[in-house]
Symmetry: C2
């Protein structure tokens, strides 16, 4: 991209003050007054051309929004509030200044929906494909953060919405469930957002907690997109719900018998994951994470 430094100055001019931010975009580092009562949570995610989006299909604004929302969804998964973000973009040389601005505006639009200032970043143009990364700082603001490691035998497993087929469009337009995550923090023993797919993300909870899980096949909520995708590719809709990723629903465990969302199974002592059918037959649930294959998607 031409005008890289113009772009950086344009970004700095978009800067808005906030309570937390003592010095924002435009210096070597941003300076924040971290609230003394809050734990600081931090993590980073990236979106890559051909993996998380397709520039031929998705606009720069959609890509920017997704980059922020993936990281904000990690806040939801811990029950914390997004507090600030820093972002980088590596722009293909054919990228225009207008496209770069759209990408940034998508980031800002998504971040502002959560009162999350973008306080820093880095821009580079290169002879490569588009990639954006977002580091999110989260604050606890009164909740105890929910890790992946607290699930106990006997806990029920809940998911907050229907799964599968996100590649038909939800993967780019989802809204992270931050408010719901904070509500669940009061009752969840373990929590994660479904980015890699139900089977793999449940596997993360099981591994981190040293437990196993049995899912009721008929309880897994199947999204209409999974049904539509099944119609097109012949794979069972349940398989899409179990293994497609980027649903960004919350998956959590709790000792309570009733809780928000859909109960899809229970935690067991023995490590491993199984799927139980209506006749109580068990079969091993294999982990099969998602992989976007744009060419084969409609």
């Amino acid at each position: 991209m031409a005008g890289e430094f113009d772009f950086i100055q344009w970004i700095a001019a978009q800067n808005r003050a906030g309570n937390l931010v003592q010095l924002g975009v435009g210096d070597d580092l941003a300076v924040l007054n971290w609230p003394a009562d809050d734990l600081l949570l931090v993590g980073v995610d990236q979106v890559l051309e051909g993996v998380h989006f397709d520039s031929a299909v998705h606009s720069p604004r959609q890509i920017g929004k997704k980059a922020i929302n993936r990281s904000v969804s990690d806040c939801a998964a811990m029950g914390c509030l997004p507090a600030a973000a820093v972002a980088t973009v590596a722009l293909p040389k054919h990228f225009s200044l207008d496209q770069a601005k759209e990408l940034y505006l998508g980031m800002r639009q998504a971040a502002e929906a959560f009162d999350c200032p973008i306080v820093g970043g880095d821009t580079a143009a290169w002879d490569g494909k588009l990639i954006a990364t977002v580091t999110i700082l989260g604050r606890t603001s009164g909740i105890r953060p929910v890790a992946r490691s607290g699930a106990k035998a006997g806990d029920r497993i809940f998911v907050t919405g229907p799964l599968g087929g996100s590649i038909l469009g939800r993967h780019i337009e989802f809204v992270p469930k931050v408010a719901l995550g904070r509500e669940l923090a009061a009752l969840a023993s373990a929590m994660i957002d479904i980015s890699d797919g139900l089977s793999r993300d449940l596997g993360h909870i099981c591994r981190c907690s040293g437990v196993g899980a049995i899912l009721q096949a008929e309880s897994v909520p199947i999204h209409p997109d999974a049904v539509e995708l099944s119609r097109r590719d012949g794979r069972a809709a349940l398989e899409h719900a179990l293994h497609d990723g980027e649903d960004y629903e919350l998956l959590y465990t709790t000792s309570r018998p009733t809780a928000p969302g859909i109960c899809i199974g229970r935690i067991v002592e023995k490590p491993g994951m199984w799927l139980q059918d209506e006749r109580k037959n068990l079969r091993a649930l294999e982990i099969a994470g998602w992989q976007h294959v744009w060419g084969s998607a409609p």
Copy 2:
């Protein structure tokens, strides 16, 4: 890269506990106990194949070290201490697990030199070139952070070491001047690390401070690498010292007459930058940032 999830589990196993870190790699977000007396500084940098390194020349370990050190150098430029880092890598599909581990070990080696734990990250394999990003969290620990915006007319301009020709090797093997940055925080009115080149980085200080600068041409310290590069490409060594980037020396202004490093000029009220020769003739100093052109470098 095959075995992406193996790599992530291997990284989690490298995890080390620290005072600050309540929960490290392996969950949705890391959880830190931020010290109540410290401001939090945050920023991000990226290193890209063909821009900041050349995989045909530089090893994965060198690339990993550079990725961390670029961000740590931003801490040096503010006078703060690196406290924690999160990192992402986008790996070309031909990258082996061993190469990925070397990249991570380079990051960790560089970070440990500053007692800076790597508390989170993201790994993806893609049909693209190698890129690594590092977000650094810095803490003030007793100093006032030094911004780019505090230079005043009459201040002297200092640089902490000789400049130019870093492409001959220093750009990949530099050590960020964190301890020196903390010492300078007591006396600097503005500070920056030289990554884009002296002319451009001095321009950042001038723009942010609303001032101008006059450099003494004969005072600018010229690195032997700049002389060597001049011999090869015919451009004056002084031009390399003024405009090559990635020196990672600290450039700062101070009202004191003497201070660590080399005094190279003074801040003036009138916006603009000039170079003064021994006969007191002034010529405008144009900004010409660095651009690595690996093909043409020896």
